[in-house]
Amino acid sequence: MNSRRLLVLATAAVLVLTACGSDSGTKDKNGAAATQGFTAPKLTALDKLGTPEGEVNIVAWAGYVEDGSSDKNVDWVTPFEQATGCKVNVKVGTTSDEMVSLIKTGQYDVVSASGDASLRLIAAGDVEPVNTALVPNYADVFEGLKKQPWNSVKGVEYGVPHGRGANLLMYRTDKVKPAPDSWGAVFDASSPYKGHITAYDSPIYIADAALYLMKTKPELKIKNPYALDEAQFTAAVDLLKTQNANVGEYWGDYLKEIQAFKNADTVIGTSWQIIVNLAKAEKAPVEAVLPKEGATGWSDTWMVATKSKHKTCAYKWLDHIISPKANAQVAEWFGEAPSNAKSCNETADKAHCDTFHADDEAYFDQVWYWTTPIEQCLDGRTKVKCKNYSEWTTAWQEIKG
């Protein structure tokens, strides 16, 4: 055991040394992590499907696995269950961190991992490579999403892309005037909305503060909001500590956010398109905007857990959820860009793909996908050490006080 550990460490060290010389610059901004800093454990993908096991346990974002109980017209689970005989049990994760710990329990088969969860899961050996030959619909996925740094390691795919989107700034049109167009509205120390501001309850939100500082304090020289050295990190944390005085609630649970906006307990803060849509359906006067500084966002991947006991059903789910019709349904319900190119023909709103920039790589260059911060700076700097996620987590608890 010890010699194997040494071999893994040695390999990792060699990788780090060789990769360190490369210049990741701005082109590969979202994913230098995959080629630096860790070696994925040796795991093999499933080589063929067996008989469906009768159930599949999924960890997913709210809104990704709908079976008609939220809205009877919103259901892509029942057709799946009828076609494959795999009963779907879904556990909604409120943050990537929660999803990582749920998968670690070994009780789940599939997870819809954002970029800040996927690499951690891969490195820990909690998810295994996916044999895309067993997922027929994978062929139609946008090329720009395949074999990316957050869903693959050295050309080996670890999942199938689900879709991507940006975090938005949501606000009550009747309470917040004039309409905001900048994240400054939530970071303003002397905000008129004191006590009614919300922010996403996860350490990854520090990146949002860093993104704001990237544009407003160029002297800090932040190039990548997930690559923060001591000074940059302290600046972001201080900004958030100042913001904390004005925050009413942090949110992870989207019903609480909808309720809070509806009752005007919260009037402005980070949000997702699905929350905006549902709040509007509840007759809350809200709007959302992608601020001028850009935003953090996510690109999600469906992955298969190593310890899964229902791998055939898992693969069948992967194939189903990225099939044109289902992918279109979930993309419209959640409010994000689908991953299957054919979905653009299946959306009820024909302009959906354009609205969400499904094929617009230039747009997504402005969106900083959630990624796990590690010590080796993701922006390519070699002379300094960046803060890793564990330090982000500790800082987050201190920010909340």
């Binding site: 990582v100 710990s101 951690r120 942090y250 009752n263 307990d265 987590t393």
Partner: protein, 279 residues
């Protein structure tokens, strides 16, 4: 009966003790041992190497100290409110109400225990909300409700655990012979004096018994504070956060020792008051 009494005693004790020692204490021990481990920073996997790093962080970080003190104060406030509110109610039930009324009142107090904890807390959230009942009721007076925060948390927790305080005090008061109260009256003490000098000392163990529940249930609660507490954090949230957000079971284990130590000290302290017999 006496010949085999040791055997019988052993039989009687074996199953419950085995259950508790193995299932419960064993699990606690595992948790406490894991507090001495750490996790890998990137993968989150546990590294099985003994280190006191977690405890060091626990003792030196300001955050944990602040949150622990805050949690203890909240638990104490909840206990105090429960005791003050429960005592008159239990007294009425035990000494003033007629026997039929008494049964009805016990049912009335016990029934809410069956209503879902979560739904009750969400109902309070709706009540504390900007356009909720509390603000609506206070508006004519020009006042504003406390909104979400620690005040709301204390009120909600006191509400939730009130039956746990009423029942032991009621049981204690019921056991108090009326003759004692009459004797005190005959000796010339008024109601207030009797309450202070006769009733309270005798019922005190029951109050303490109830306080074990209200204190411990408030100390470890992390759900109610997330729902009505706004952005506040209590020790339960830190433990939950360490486990789920940071994926750090060892740190969660280390943090868990804080409420364990507090409660063990509390239990040892109340042992002397005889409250443990009054549960």
């Amino acid at each position: 009966m006496h010949r085999l009494s040791w055997l019988r005693l052993g039989f009687l004790l074996s199953a419950p003790m085995a259950w508790l020692l193995v299932a419960y204490l064993g699990a606690l021990a595992v948790l406490l041992v894991s507090a001495f481990w750490t996790t890998d920073v990137f993968t989150g996997n546990v590294i099985h190497q003994i280190t006191t790093a977690n405890f060091h962080q626990l003792l030196t970080s300001d955050l944990y100290r602040t949150v622990t003190i805050r949690s203890v104060l909240v638990a104490a406030a909840v206990t105090a409110i429960c005791a003050v509110v429960a005592f008159p109610m239990a007294f009425y039930m035990a000494k003033v109400a007629s026997p039929t009324m008494r049964r009805f009142l016990v049912v009335a107090v016990l029934t809410p225990l069956w209503a879902s904890y979560l739904v009750k807390v969400y109902a309070w959230r709706a009540m504390f909300s900007g356009n909720g009942v509390i603000n609506w009721a206070l508006e004519p007076f020009g006042l504003n409700g406390p909104g979400f925060g620690l005040t709301a948390t204390v009120i909600v927790l006191a509400y939730l655990w009130l039956p746990f305080m009423i029942l032991p005090i009621y049981a204690g008061l019921e056991r108090l012979p009326d003759s004692l109260l009459e004797a005190s009256g005959d000796l010339g003490a008024g109601a207030g004096r009797t309450t202070r000098s006769v009733v309270l000392p005798l019922v005190f163990p029951s109050v303490v018994a109830g306080s074990i529940f209200t204190f411990s249930l408030s100390l470890g609660d992390y759900i109610a504070v997330q729902i009505v507490g706004g952005k506040s954090q209590l020790i339960g949230n830190l433990i939950y956060g360490s486990l789920l957000t940071a994926n750090n079971l060892p740190l969660a284990g280390a943090l868990a020792t804080v409420p364990i130590v507090i409660m063990v000290i509390y239990l040892l302290g109340v042992r002397r008051t005889g409250a443990l017999d009054q549960l």
